[in-house]
């Protein structure tokens, strides 16, 4: 009936006291900004990670000594170390012949603290990997230069290296690395190929590696280390059947009882994403909790300012009641006013979050966007806060005795 009037009264009083209104709304602004920015952040980072991980393993999964779950906790990991035997080349050869669903199987073994030397340059903390020739189809890079490790290399344990673009940048800047020699942990290798660039995930370069035949790796480093076995399925629908088949084959090979826990880890990109989501979910939950606290504080501040407004306008309420305003009319007027107040705070908070995502999107590689669902939710929540914390002041105004209210001087 007269919402328009109540809204224009609310906007008038907002305009009349700009600083006071801003301070009043600060709690709501901060909380809505946090809420929207955190949702934007989590969505952006999830999208970023999903594209990175998605590229890492399109339709791939791997069989490892430990599952991701085993590695989330030190005690759990200690138990897994006792329970899970290492994976051997024999396991690889068994699966290569028995697993019929995957279209490719590769074995690899990795050491993350390799040292490279060549051309008078040195490079530490390089990932040194021994791989089978079939590993190439598991990777998200392609051969940019030269060739990948072949069957001949694997059979003859040749000392050949396939290197990541970061190694080229550090050790062979401006030089064609093909055919040049490089010392990997003191052994001499010949560079046969270079991978295409993959970029960073959280500051860790994916391009800082050296690959050699897995047979060569085991000749140089010993055969104790557990290997990882990678699989590629023929399509996204075949990933789950392939994983089920590998799980079944491994359980049979290790004679696990029906009820026994698996003593190996099967990690698909979905498992990685699940783990990632549980981490970001926890962060988001904490931030949502923080913003809820802000919101309650903001709501109480609004309640306080509305109580002041009711006192300030007692005479006005008296006039309105004298000429026929009912309780519901007065209640509605003040409820609309506090809802407009807090919704304004919500809009300002969304604007602040929008600025944040613009800046963050410009200065980080993460693809930020303002999620519409979060914007609508923030608006609804801020309006609801205004309505909820407006109930008490509005009720107080509605219950005023018209005679007493008329007598109060403004």
């Amino acid at each position: 009936m007269h919402f328009k009037e109540a809204i224009s009264i609310a906007l008038d009083s907002l305009r009349a006291h700009k600083l006071r209104s801003f301070l009043t709304l600060l709690g709501v602004i901060i909380s809505v900004c946090t809420l929207v920015a955190v949702i934007a952040l989590v969505q952006g980072v999830n999208l970023y990670v999903a594209t990175k991980i998605g590229r890492l393993g399109l339709n791939t999964f791997s069989l490892n000594q430990f599952s991701l779950h085993d590695m989330t906790d030190r005690q759990r990991f200690a138990r897994a170390v006792h329970r899970n035997p290492p994976l051997r080349m024999a396991d690889y050869n068994y699966l290569r012949h028995s697993a019929t669903i995957p279209i490719a199987i590769a074995a690899s073994v990795e050491n993350n603290s390799g040292t490279l030397k060549a051309q008078g340059q040195e490079m530490d903390d390089v990932s040194v990997r021994g791989v089978t020739p079939s590993d190439l189809v598991m990777e998200s890079f392609h051969v940019a230069q030269g060739r990948f490790i072949g069957h001949f290399d694997e059979q003859h344990r040749t000392q050949v290296a396939f290197i990541g673009p970061d190694v080229v940048k550090h050790i062979f800047p401006g030089i064609n690395p093909l055919g040049r020699h490089i010392l990997v942990n003191g052994s001499q290798f010949r560079v046969i190929g270079v991978a295409s660039k993959q970029g960073n995930v959280f500051g860790n370069s994916l391009d800082q590696f050296v690959m050699m035949p897995i047979s060569t790796f085991r000749k140089l480093n010993g055969k104790q280390a557990s290997i990882n076995i990678g699989f590629k399925a023929g399509g996204s629908a075949l990933v789950q059947p392939a994983m089920d088949q590998v799980r079944m084959l491994m359980r049979a090979r290790r004679h696990l009882a029906y009820t026994a826990k698996a003593n190996f880890g099967l990690i698909g990109s979905s498992a990685v994403m699940d783990l990632w989501h549980s981490i970001t979910g926890a962060i988001a939950a904490v931030m949502v909790g923080v913003s809820v606290v802000f919101l309650v504080v903001g709501g109480i501040v609004i309640m306080n300012i509305m109580l002041a407004a009711v006192t300030e306008r007692t005479h006005e309420v008296g006039i309105r009641k004298a000429i026929g305003a009912r309780r519901a009319d007065i209640l509605r007027q003040f409820l609309v006013e506090s809802a407009v107040l807090s919704t304004t705070g919500g809009v300002l908070g969304i604007l602040a979050a929008w600025l944040f995502t613009l800046l963050a999107g410009r200065y980080t590689p993460i693809p930020f966007s303002l999620p519409w669902t979060a914007v609508i939710m923030a608006l609804l929540v801020s309006t609801a806060v205004g309505l909820f914390f407006g109930i008490y002041p509005a009720g107080k105004a509605a219950r005023l005795d018209p005679i007493v209210a008329l007598r109060s001087e403004t």
């Binding site: 008296g318 006039i319 004298a322 000429i323 026929g324 309780r327 519901a328 009319d329 005679i403």
Partner: protein, 251 residues
């Protein structure tokens, strides 16, 4: 005794009451002051007919304001009956009284009681808003009311841009706009100089001539002389009720 009174009043309203705008029977108002009870009104009986022009006079503390609050449906009596335009309003709950105030009574106050942030037109529209009347008809009726008090050119001025007399005329327009059965004016000239007071009283006279029922609450005799009947309140009771010189002239 009061119970038989109530019964007879409800079942057999006197014939004179049919045409009455205001009829009260044994109206009491008792305030609780801590443990003490103070009776502001002690059994007031009034009968005011349609198109009467009545002044209520009395010294401060006489119960005059209490009576005005009861007549204006701003308050409910502790005891007794009150019919306004044929409706029993003495036992109505809050929101029903608000409805009655909106439909039946046009208030004019000493301090004007206009909304300071609203224009003259909006102030006049306000009772129609609470009556649930649509935007177009509302503006039309408010303009018409402003025209009746010769203030149409000032419709977009706020109260602080208007003189005291103009503010009171806006308040009178606001009282008229719902076409109430009673115009209740509480010291309408109390805040005005004598020239402006004369203008405002001339306006009330004109409203009476147009058929309105007017009740003036005042303590000034020359203001009360505009009415045709003066009711004196003393110690919470009707002390005197007589026609004014003006009424005697008319007859």
């Amino acid at each position: 005794m009061p119970s038989t009174l109530t019964q007879s009043a409800v079942t057999r309203p006197p014939d004179a009451a049919a045409a009455a705008i205001i009829r009260t029977e044994d109206l009491w108002k008792i305030y609780e002051m801590g443990a003490e009870q103070v009776a502001a009104l002690r059994g007031v009986n009034l009968l005011i007919a349609r198109n009467e022009y009545v002044a209520i006079m009395g010294p401060s503390g006489s119960g005059k304001s209490t009576l005005m609050n009861l007549i204006g449906c701003l308050d409910s009596p502790s005891r007794g009956q009150y019919w306004l335009n044929g409706q029993q309003v003495s036992a109505m709950p809050d929101d029903d009284l608000a409805y009655i105030r909106n439909r039946e009574i046009g208030f004019v106050f000493q301090t004007f009681n206009l909304l300071p942030r609203a224009t003259a037109l909006h102030n006049v529209e306000l009772p129609l808003i609470y009556a649930g009347i649509g935007t177009e008809e509302r503006a039309q009726r408010a303009l018409e009311a402003l025209r009746r008090v010769d203030l149409e050119p000032r419709k977009n001025h706020r109260p602080n841009e208007l003189s005291g007399g103009q503010r009171q005329r806006v308040a009178i327009a606001r009282a008229l706009v719902t076409r109430p059965s009673l115009i209740l004016a509480d010291e309408p000239t109390g805040n005005l100089d004598s020239t402006t007071s004369k203008e405002i009283m001339a306006l009330f006279d004109r409203l009476w001539e147009e058929g309105n029922t007017i009740v003036l609450v005042t303590h000034e005799h020359d203001i009360a002389e505009h009415a045709h009947r003066v009711i004196y309140i003393r110690d919470g009771q009707v002390a005197d009720d007589k026609p004014t010189a003006r009424a005697r002239q008319r007859t």
